[in-house]
Every structure is written in C-alpha cells, then in structure tokens.
C-alpha cells in the first residue's frame, strides 16, 4: 500500500509527485485526519496557481479518508467530504524545504514559488464554490474575459525587460524588447501622432479595430484600447481576465491604476493625463500579430 501525493500547481510543466510508503505514509495519514466539517467546497481545477495537494491511496480508503482526496488551504475535499484537516500546518510542512518534497530536488526557486502560492488567498468564486454564481454576477465581465492576459506586473517590471518594452508591447502581451511602434513591423509606421495614423499602424500589425466593442471582451483574443496625446504620444491599455484594465507607461512599470490612483474599469473614463483623445478599442488575436 502506498500514498501518492501530487502538488497540483503547474500548468506547462508536470506537477511534482511523491509516493510515500510504510511508516511515513502512516505518519502523514495521521496528520490528515478530518476535523471539523466545513462548508461544501468543490475541488479547484481550472485556474492558474496552487490548486492543492492531491492524494491517492493504493489499496483503497483508510480510516476516515477516501481513496482519493485533495487538501487545499487546510480543507480536505472529496466526494462527500469537506472538513478541516487535523494538522493545519501540513501543507506548509509538506511543501517546505524541510518536508518530504525536498527529496525531489526541485530547488529553492520552486519551494519559494510553492510557498508564495500556498500563502496566496484561496480564490473565491472558482469551480463551483458555493458563492460562484454570486461572484460571477458581481464581476460580470469575468466570464467574458477568459482569453485575456493575466495581470502579472511582476513579469514585466524590473530588469532590462521593463525598459525595452512599452505600452504597445504590454497591451498586446508581446515582448519584443524593441519598444515597439505601431506599424513598424509591417513597414507602415504611423506618420503622425493622431488617432487615425496610429490606428492604421496597429491595423498593419494585424490588430483588429473594434470601435463598437464598448468595453466588452471579445470571444477570442483580448481587448486593448488606443489613446493619443495629440501630436505628442500614443498610449495603450489592455483589458485583463478580471475585467479590469492595466497598462505600462513607456519604460516604467506596469500598473492597474490610472493617474488618479483608481482601478481602471473603462479607459474611456480613466484619468489619462494628457492622453486626452480616446481613439478606439481593438482586439489582439493571440499569435496573429507582429510588432517591432
């Protein structure tokens, strides 16, 4: 008999898997005893990040535990089971550098990532949570932005990547490291800093003009918005998965705040400083565009 433990956290690479046997298996199972019942919680499966420890027992169930169950943020989850785990420190111990996972030799970076993910608040409204429908109603844009990029400023901010990518790179979610200019890749760079000219450059880069998008996410691709400081500069925003917008002012840091410090629900009404002309919404079809 053995206990297979999968750390369900990755998307592109395989999840770490550990098989426990003998005394170690028994010790772990003792710490995983179900405690106080919890409100019913569906297993998390379809979001990015830490989705819990998945346990599979060979040889069937033991004690009060089913043959397959999950531990996520201190809650044991399975069909007919939703209870606090006896040892609330189990996940931290198991995934820490002193826990069993160290045997896989994953390296400090992975342990740090796991720790960060474990400490991240459990997402609400996901995968059948009791308040899922309420959450989706409250954030009605959420469902319609599934193809939109994540708001991940940490990926863009800092190091040479930050300074060599601008608002156009960020909005199209396309890192060229060239401080991209609309139309340049197609040999049709804008001739003047006006809405029609910059728009024409973006269209040449294969962005799709969507003037009637009205702040609604497209079924495919993601929504961006072009604004212009007439004769001075252009600027782009992108709509994220949560329905909020974010942007990267030039070589500066990506942010989800406008010039007044507010979250951006609509770039048409955001405080945009001297970018006073709102030009249009556009759609970025992932993989279709080319920018330089």
């Amino acid at each position: 008999m053995s206990l297979k433990v999968t750390v369900d956290v990755f998307s592109g690479r395989p999840n770490p898997v550990l098989v426990l046997e003998g005394r170690e298996e028994q010790a772990v199972l003792a710490r995983l005893r179900p405690g106080k019942r919890q409100p019913r919680l569906a297993a998390p499966q379809s979001f990015l990040g830490y989705r819990g420890l998945q346990f599979e027992l060979t040889g069937g169930r033991r004690r009060a535990l089913p043959g397959s169950f999950r531990l996520w943020h201190g809650v044991l989850i399975a069909d007919g089971l939703s209870a606090a785990v006896a040892d609330p420190g189990f996940e931290a111990w198991f995934m820490g550098t002193d826990g069993p996972l160290r045997r896989l030799g994953l390296g400090g970076a992975v342990h740090n990532l796991l720790e960060t993910e474990r400490l991240r608040p459990r997402p609400k409204g996901g995968d059948g949570d009791k308040d899922d429908r309420h959450e989706r109603r409250r954030r009605h844009e959420h469902e319609r932005c599934e193809c939109a990029p994540l708001y991940e400023p940490g990926w863009w901010n800092g190091g040479p990547r930050q300074g060599s990518n601008n608002c156009y790179n960020y909005s199209t979610n396309y890192r060229s490291d060239t401080f991209a200019q609309p139309g340049l890749a197609a040999g049709a760079e804008y001739a003047s800093l006006t809405c029609p000219d910059v728009l024409a450059g973006a269209i040449a880069d294969e962005l799709i003009n969507a003037p009637k998008a009205n702040n609604r996410c497209p079924k495919e691709g993601h929504l961006v918005a072009l604004v212009v400081a007439p004769g001075g500069d252009f600027h782009w925003y992108r709509k994220g998965r949560t329905g909020y917008w974010s942007h990267k002012p030039g070589p500066g840091q990506a942010t989800n705040r406008d010039n007044s410090g507010h979250l951006i629900t609509d770039p048409r009404t955001a405080d945009r400083g001297f970018y006073v002309d709102f030009c249009t919404f556009m759609v970025v079809m992932h993989g279709h565009i080319k920018i330089l």
Partner: protein, 111 residues
C-alpha cells in the same frame, strides 16, 4: 577613480520621462556639467519624509545617466540615485539639466 574611468568610456546623457509609446527624449550632456551635477547631488541633504510620486502617465521627471550607467532621477525637489534620495530645495539640479537640452527637444508638456 570610478568616475574618471567611466567618463572615458562614453558620455553623460540627459533625459525626460514623459512619453509612453514613443521613446523619451534624450540628449548628450557635457562631461563637465555631468560631473558638476554629480558633485551637486553629493552635497545635497538626504530626503526625509514621503517622496513625491509622479503619475503613471505624463511627466515623470528628469534623468541624468552617467557613462557607467548610474541614473539620477529628478522630480520636483527630489533627486534620487537608486534609493538614495536628496532634497534639492532650489531645484538647481533640474534647472541645470533642462538648460543643457537642445532647443525643441523637451516637449512643452514637460515644462
């Protein structure tokens, strides 16, 4: 000496942080002025209290880049080299830097 060595490698560059889509304007700064601004900054008192925060979009300050890659940023009375901020009550650093810019290179929205 670090500064002497680096000044032989390249030039001092002035700049203004103002654009988003376009590259920000930059201009060469005479080495003599670069060294003078460096000495000016070294003599400024440390900044205390809350630092002024530029808005995400629009004018975000002036920069002076040394040949060795160090970058001073001036915004209002704050002149910072990395996390070391100094108070330039008379904004002499900023005024000297602006004065070194060729005519027309600094957009009026930054002035």
């Amino acid at each position: 000496m670090g500064t002497s060595r680096s000044s032989e490698e390249g030039g001092w560059i002035g700049g203004v942080l103002v654009y988003s889509g376009r590259r920000d304007p930059t201009w060469p700064v005479p080495a003599e002025l670069g060294h003078r601004l460096e000495q000016l900054w070294e003599g400024l008192p440390p900044w205390s209290g809350r630092r002024p925060q530029p808005p995400p979009l629009g004018f975000r300050g002036w920069t002076l880049t040394a040949p060795d890659g160090r970058v001073w940023t001036a915004f209002r009375q704050l002149v910072a080299l990395a996390i070391d901020g100094r108070r330039d009550a008379e904004r002499e650093f900023e005024r000297s830097l602006i004065a070194s810019a060729p005519p027309g290179i600094v957009p009026t929205i930054a002035l």
